[in-house]
């Protein structure tokens, strides 16, 4: 059952062979903490709308945005919906290419080993490559 094992879910980027190369896609980069603004949910809704009409979406958690991946969010204390749980729906909406800023995770001590969706840890250089190769880029 490799599909759900942490080893399978959490991969490192191969600098030389992004499988996205040559494929047309929209990159959505999310850069805000989960509850400081509506931006994380705006990004999520944008991704869902894009895949809904058949566009390929690459989703990138960068900078402060990796804090959205903190598993134990107690959103109920501030009467909000749990952003982390909503993000778990990304693969259900065909957002399968998910990249996470490795350095930011280290800075904020975010453990991505237990995430339920496949993802790739990337450095700043890889993020730049992904953005440069995108057909369109949206930053939230």
């Amino acid at each position: 059952m490799m599909a759900n094992s942490p080893e399978h879910n959490n991969t490192e980027a191969d600098h030389t062979s992004f499988h996205l190369s040559g494929e047309k896609y929209i990159a959505i980069k999310t850069t805000h903490t989960p509850y400081s603004t509506s931006a994380p949910i705006d990004a999520l809704e944008a991704a869902m709308a894009a895949t809904n009409i058949g566009l390929k979406v690459v989703y990138i958690f960068s900078g402060l945005g990796v804090l959205q991946l903190q598993v134990e969010q107690q959103a109920q204390l501030i009467k909000h919906k749990n952003t982390f749980k909503r993000l778990m729906a990304l693969p259900l909406f065909d957002v399968d290419d998910i990249y996470i800023d490795k350095q930011a995770c280290e800075n904020f001590a975010i453990n991505t080993q237990t995430l339920d969706f496949d993802h790739t840890m990337v450095g700043i250089d890889e993020i730049e490559m992904i953005l440069n190769s995108a057909h369109q880029v949206l930053v939230f």
């Binding site: 509506s38 705006d42 709308a49 894009a50 009409i53 566009l55 949206l138």
Partner: protein, 134 residues
């Protein structure tokens, strides 16, 4: 002649940022160069640009009327994300029908159109379209 079209996403409210003014200036500059603005799409707090209730002081910029002028001069489609605008109280006549007990005045009307996010992404599907997010 180039087939390049621009679709512009405005994501900030008119008085918290100069973002909408920059977007409007870009539209005029692009049109002057014979490019097509396929739509201006208002998302996040940018939906406030579409509110008829904006009442800046008389010597201040009124983005609502400025967008109307752009539309009247060049018929640029002005699309507003329906869910983002509903959250922020920018409501069309169609939307308030179901809430007439608590809302009696729409503040979003033509030439602004309340549309789904998919309208924005459909434009991006065109390979000649360049998206600019402000």
């Amino acid at each position: 002649m180039s087939n390049t079209q621009f679709t512009i996403m405005v994501s900030k409210s008119p008085f918290d940022s100069r973002n909408a003014e920059q977007a409007l200036a870009f539209c005029y500059a692009a049109i002057a160069q014979n490019f097509v603005i396929s739509q201006v799409f208002f998302y996040q707090s940018g939906v406030h640009n579409a509110s008829q209730l904006l009442q800046p002081a008389s010597d201040e910029i009124n983005m609502y009327t400025n967008w109307l002028e752009l539309y009247n001069a060049h018929q640029v489609p002005l699309n507003v994300c329906v869910s983002a605008s509903a959250r922020r109280g920018v409501l069309s006549e169609d939307f308030i029908e179901g809430y007439s007990d608590i809302v009696n005045h729409a503040n979003l009307s033509a030439p602004f159109s309340a549309v789904g996010l998919s309208a924005y992404f459909e434009a991006l599907n065109n390979s000649d379209t360049i998206s600019i997010q402000l």
